[in-house]
Symmetry: C3
Subunit: 363 residues, 3 copies
């Protein structure tokens, strides 16, 4: 990759100050920059270390005095973090999966492979699968029977797409992601301890020994456009209808999405979060790392959960939640302040009781 | 798949009302049903949407007035959710892995492959491995040296079974499951900070820098009949003896089972649950999603934990538990009610102190 | 494996009592020992079951009266648990991956393969990858473009190493581990609800619908010597610089390490723990199972967290922490004692209020 500052600024809708013909071959942190790298000095505290490196140019905040840092040029964007999205895309050297269908890949003759598709070594494309134009299928990927990938997909190594999974355009899957495993759905011949405990709020859970019978997952998974899924994350197929993921949803690593779940557009689901069967997550919601959503819940639009939040009941739209079980963030902060002062409260009440009982005996 | 209602009812031990010669080719939700699909209208609220679809027949609850919904027939089962297990098994089109041993699979000549076994593309069967009759090994699966799978196994794509793992009949493994990784067992030359902290209940954890030496896992994993394991879940091998999983145990996705763990028959382990080394889970226990069980604990039979429960001590049989750390569910409900009212309690006590100290100064 | 007790004791720096020419072929628990196995009777309670097995020799604690248990010999080590590390290494039969490069493996001609390297069936070694001497690459592993593995690596089946990942000597990776997936880094054109909620501490999270733009991960992952990573665990690449893992760090299964994280030497990271982007973990720290570390935090050296600890702020060196959110372990124990007595406290305060208001009305 080699770009002049002028080319970069044009692509990002940003402004160059200084020498726009200067060419850079990559980006780096200010202190580690070589002379041909663009320094990422998007905040004053980052810029302080420019002198430790050899950068001649930097991406900086609006109003930065770039000359004072000894630079020949600076790119200034109104929201530098957003500009970083475009810049990092230009500079990404990729994974080097090559091009065309590798001779060691096993592609079923009934599969439909689009134009300009890369299929990496030892990938398996099943019968009647469809791979959209310009897609890249990494090594050891499996695309199952009758699964459909839209245009511009990138599957990194060892991704598994099950039968009858339907995915839109520009899908990205990190290594080891598994889409279309069977839902976790088992039933006992007689009502189980769990069913009884839910009805009685915990008073009666135990029950006679019973074996679990499997409910097969007949549905698939339907995924919209511009979805990304993290390494070793899992999305299960639905029981009767498809599990559904809207457009623009991004999943981090080791996320678990149960059967029949619905996730609306533009949600952000952070690492190790789990959403149990049949729950629904409204548009634009952000679930922090290790969030747990119980089954059959309704989470509104634009909800935010902090890390480790355990959600056992519905959440209205727009709420910011934290804790176990989930509370509004400001309630949580107040409650946990109290929790830390709880030992003192016990002492205070104990003293009060003494002074009241003394007071009473005195009267 | 094509079945008459009479055939389905016979297989499920259910009753047909109306035209039992009607043929269906699949199942669907009532509102989405085509004319040749059986509607899943097992509760009155589901049946309300029958009119939005084209179903001519439905599976319904006992006593449902099927004619009132314009149907030609209904299948009625005493426990429809249980009937769904059999019905979904009949209707499952599967993953289309084909039959026989794919020419691209690498099967060691010393492996023993049973009758009627499918081995998918690019699977690897190691030396002296044994695959039982009627098993299906998906693409990219690895069955290691001297591992043994009983009859009727189904391994979905990318499942990894390590050396010397022994598994009973009818095993099902979802994509990416890993059985037989090494246990997480490391030891320092001198007692470590963790050992000290456990002895002193946290008073002293820090210690001089030490390196961790690996304790190799010499044991394997022994798994009973009718076990199912979820996508990207892990079961580690034992240190000296085998990690042990009983009959009928079902694991959801992204579950972690540590070395030397014993899980007795018919347990249900929901997604993202972790059971640390050497703990024992009694028969019929259900661990809710994201439950954590600390190491060396004893969890009784028929215990139920709610989502996100963190278990740091033993649990007697039959308990329903929730919270961090785990409490009896009714205690948890009462405690958390109190937690939310904690800020008010602080205010009340503060007022009391004032009024008592005023009272005292007045007397 | 066949060793005399004398050979074993010499390798471990331990002492033999009795017949040092006795040969053993493996180790076992006392009750399950055959006559040619060494019993692991390193504590008195383990030794009690020696009579149920056929062991002629045992590893025992210092001062054990081995003759009283009917043994012909005993190996005594000053810290038997540490001796187990060396002994288990000697006795480990391994996974039987064979030797040399399997003909089904796909090795790019530009890759540099060291001396005495095993590459298992259907593994893929990408362009310009470097594999150090004496390494073992299991079946279905992928080592990406320009990735570097030091000497003596062991990758178990299905491990994925992304492009430009650099790893030191004696690396061990359990099945399905994924190193070098892209970081989870997305940005909206305008400040998002999460940014607003962080600034306002939760008062305002909701925002207009926006789409997430991807920040590509241009950095790699740098890993030191003697690191081990568990099954299906994930380490993401950095945004600009590399994610960094020091020497001697051990990761359990299903662990998530976000982009730009720094983990210093000799940390132990237990199963299902997550460390979010750009956080730093000091040397010798031990994170218990299911610990969550929020992003951009600084965790000191020799910290210990208990199972399920949720860390939302920095932790000074040497602390032992527990709870959600994390507290010092002794505070947590006191607080949770209070929590269980909370319902009683409410009753006490309610009674106090009555008696005070009665008292007041009486005066």
């Amino acid at each position: 990759m080699k770009y002049s500052l002028g080319e970069i600024a044009k692509a990002l809708g940003a402004t160059v100050h200084g020498d726009e013909t200067l060419v850079v071959t990559g980006v780096n942190e200010p202190a580690a920059c070589g002379p041909d790298q663009l320094a990422m000095a998007i905040k004053p505290e980052f810029a302080e270390t420019l002198a430790d490196g050899q950068a001649q140019a930097a991406m900086m905040w609006d109003g930065a005095d770039w000359r004072a840092f000894g630079l020949k040029a600076a790119i200034v964007a109104p929201r530098p973090r957003f500009a970083m999205a475009g810049l990092s895309g230009m500079m990404d050297p990729g994974q080097g999966y090559g091009s065309g269908v590798h001779p060691s890949a096993v592609v079923d003759p009934s599969a439909k492979i689009g134009a300009n598709v890369t299929i990496g070594p030892l990938a398996v494309i099943g019968p009647e699968a469809v791979i959209g134009d310009n897609s890249v299928i990494g090594p050891h990927c499996h695309v199952g029977w009758n699964a459909r990938l839209g245009a511009g997909a990138v599957l990194h190594s060892g991704v598994k797409i099950g039968a009858r999974v339907t995915i839109g355009d520009r899908f990205v899957a990190q290594p080891g992601a598994a889409i279309g495993g069977d839902g976790f759905s088992f039933v006992t011949p007689e009502p189980s301890g769990v069913e009884k405990a839910r009805e009685s709020l915990g008073a009666e859970g135990a029950t006679d020994a019973q074996q679990w019978a499997r409910i097969h997952s007949l549905g698939g998974v339907t995924i919209g456009n511009d979805v990304e899924i993290g390494a070793n994350s899992c999305i299960d197929r639905g029981t009767v209808r498809d599990t559904f993921i809207g457009n623009g949803v991004k999943f981090d690593n080791l996320v678990q999405i149960g059967h029949n779940v619905v996730i609306e557009d533009d949600c952000l689901i952070c690492a190790q979060t789990g959403v149990a069967g049949s729950s629904k997550i409204g548009r634009g919601t952000v679930l922090g790392g290790q969030t747990g959503i119980s089954d059959n819940l309704n989470i509104g639009e634009n909800v935010i959960t902090g890390g480790g939040t355990v959600v056992l009941s519905n959440i209205p739209a727009g709420r910011v939640m934290l804790g176990y079980p989930a509370m509004k963030m400001e309630t949580h902060i107040e409650v946990y302040k109290g929790l830390r002062r709880l030992p003192r409260l016990f002492r205070d009440v104990s003293l009060l009781r003494k002074s009241v009982s003394n007071g009473e005996s005195n009267t």
